[in-house]
């Protein structure tokens, strides 16, 4: 994997795209070039001075040629709220530590990266860290299906990217039923797992899931039941973001492991859910 850098990043755009959802585009050439699907950046914004810690964000899309990374973020607290106020004109001082973490498929190496039939399951902003993976899989000619859940229609902000840019079939569920099935996306995921790959009905080789922890637990149980390998991307509060402080540990069969560098992607069957 690429060496870590602390790259000064230039803010190019920062726009609302849905309910409490923003898309931020940054110029950060090294990270754009080296980041792997599932890895993240640890972001520092200078003027957030009373909030001293960095904030981790997955990279949603990249444009390696132009040296750009795109982050999709949801406003949940001080830091993400602060981010919404940044504008390219004010030229805020932003630094990204990255590329951090174990990417999707990294655990057991070649086999999974070459997976032929993959089901992606995303809840909320969990759709962001799956996009680069989907792109990579499509480029490799894998068959990719996706199930996506969100609170409401307007929160399905990544849907068109998956459908139109990548040409992936995506089934949706919304909590309020304003788009797709009403309720959680676990029902859709379950039917897909039972029915197999949308194009040929063959069983999946791999499920990759990112979203709220309860969703990931249910999906990982379902995958285990039908005997399909499953990976999940875990979130923890992070201080260093580089593996040094042990603030981000996840309980696993092998003991407490660091979400930042031993993850964020874990094999679902390793995780001891809390």
């Amino acid at each position: 994997m690429a060496a870590l850098a602390n790259e000064p990043a230039k803010l190019l755009s920062n726009e609302p795209v849905g309910p409490r959802l923003f898309l931020m585009e940054l110029e950060s050439p090294y990270i754009a070039r080296t980041i792997l699907p599932g890895q993240f950046v640890h972001m520092r914004v200078n003027q957030m001075a009373d909030h001293i810690l960095r904030r981790p964000f997955s990279v949603y899309r990249t444009d390696p040629g132009e040296g750009r990374v795109v982050i999709l973020y949801q406003v949940v607290g001080y830091g993400t709220d602060y981010l919404t106020g940044l504008s390219p004109e004010a030229d805020p001082a932003i630094e990204l530590v990255g590329p951090v973490g174990r990417p999707w498929g990294a655990r057991t190496g070649g086999e999974r990266a070459d997976a032929g039939r993959v089901l992606l399951v995303a809840g909320g902003v969990g759709a962001a860290p799956l996009y680069l993976l989907a792109q990579q899989l499509v480029e490799r000619g894998a068959k990719v299906d996706m199930v996506m859940g969100a609170q409401t229609r307007s929160a399905l902000v990544t849907l068109s990217d998956y459908r139109e840019r990548l040409g992936i079939g995506v089934e949706c569920a919304t909590d309020d039923g304003t788009y797709g099935e009403r309720g959680f996306c676990t029902g859709l995921a379950s039917r897909r797992l039972d029915g197999g790959c949308a194009s040929d009905g063959a069983p999946y080789d791999l499920v990759c899931c990112c979203g709220p922890e309860p969703l990931m637990r249910i999906v990982s149980d379902m995958a285990a039941e039908v005997g399909v390998a499953c990976q999940v991307s875990m979130e923890r509060r992070m201080a260093c973001g580089v593996g040094a402080c042990l603030s981000c540990v996840v309980d696993t069969a092998a003991g407490k492991r660091r979400a930042c560098v031993d993850g964020p992607v874990f094999d679902a069957d390793e995780v001891v859910w809390r």
Binding site: I52, V97, C240, V242, G243, L246, S247, V249
Partner: protein
């Protein structure tokens, strides 16, 4: 300009080390800084057979600071000796190992294990961790237990023995004197201040362990005061820490009486913080016509 200092027998090429637990054993930061260029690397606290640490969440952000309740998670001294010390040796780092134990005897056993390696240059005995139930802070709050554990460690090694104190005490100078009289070659402070954070919406503590240790810029005024008090109370050198994030911060600690300083939480904010602090000290010396950094130690005018 001369930047080298002597911390109770530990020769440091500059006065800057890292605060234990914020830098692992250096490897995680080697992409950002030349770890061998630090005055010393202080490794994460290590116990005899390793500890699991506390449940998650283990950190919470607070105004200009953070709480942690890691609980000294570590894989044990064998692992350190087999994986980390050799790497530190290979890059030519000066190494101080932070030592923990659940009993006085465990401290001694950890030191005995480390005595086998020539690449361990000093010990920092942590009698101040607020995040473990046995050992740790309680031990560091009373002069009698401080004297006892320090004497026992002293017997186990001839290497520089730095004793790390907790700030959660009424009279830090008294504790420092106890450590000194028991044979400490230096005093290191401050460890974290015991604190707490609550999520009012969920009516729950933010840390699974409820309380944790406060670090970062918020604690700097307290750390600086304690370093100043201790430096005047003992003859041995002081390793100062607590919220240091810049060369100016480091200089303040040295003026207050510290011989060397450690950068802790700042590593999380800026992984290059250590070298920036070293450069900042050098800049300061240059601007102020200081030819040897030792001139700064205790040079506060008051």
């Amino acid at each position: 300009m001369a930047l080298a200092v002597d911390l109770g027998g530990l020769r440091m090429k500059n006065p800057v080390t890292v605060a234990s637990g914020t830098f692992a054993a250096g490897r995680e930061f080697h992409d950002f800084v030349d770890v061998a260029s630090l005055g010393a690397v202080t490794t994460k606290g290590v116990s005899l057979n390793g500890w699991e640490g506390n449940a998650s969440p283990r950190i919470a952000e607070t105004p200009c600071g953070m709480l942690n309740s890691i609980g000294l998670q570590n894989p044990g001294v064998r692992h350190l000796l087999e994986h980390d010390i050799p790497w530190l040796e290979s890059i030519g780092a000066t190494t101080m190992v932070n030592v923990s134990g659940h009993s006085f005897q465990e401290y001694v056993e950890v030191i005995e294990a480390l005595e086998q390696s020539q690449a361990v240059h000093a010990y920092e005995v942590n009698i101040s961790c607020p995040n473990v139930d046995a050992g740790g802070m309680a031990m560091g709050c009373r002069t009698d237990s401080v004297e006892r554990v320090v004497s026992m460690c002293r017997e186990a090694t001839a290497r520089p023995l730095i004793v790390k104190l907790t700030p959660n005490v009424t009279d830090i100078a008294e504790i420092a004197r106890a450590a000194e009289s028991a044979g400490a070659d230096g005093i290191s402070l401050i460890n974290t201040l015991l604190g707490m954070a609550i999520d009012p919406e969920r009516r729950r503590p933010q840390l699974a362990r409820v309380v944790g240790g406060l670090s970062g810029p918020a604690v700097k005024p307290i750390a600086l005061r304690m370093v100043w008090e201790v430096a005047r109370a003992v003859q041995v050198p002081v390793l100062g820490m607590g919220g240091i994030a810049s060369g100016a911060d480091a200089v303040e600690f040295m003026l207050a009486g510290a011989t060397a300083v450690a950068v802790g939480t700042a590593n999380f904010v800026d992984p290059q913080a250590t070298v920036k602090v070293i450069d900042g000290i050098a800049d300061y010396c240059e601007r102020h016509g200081v030819s040897d950094v030792n001139e700064l130690i205790g040079a506060l005018e008051c």
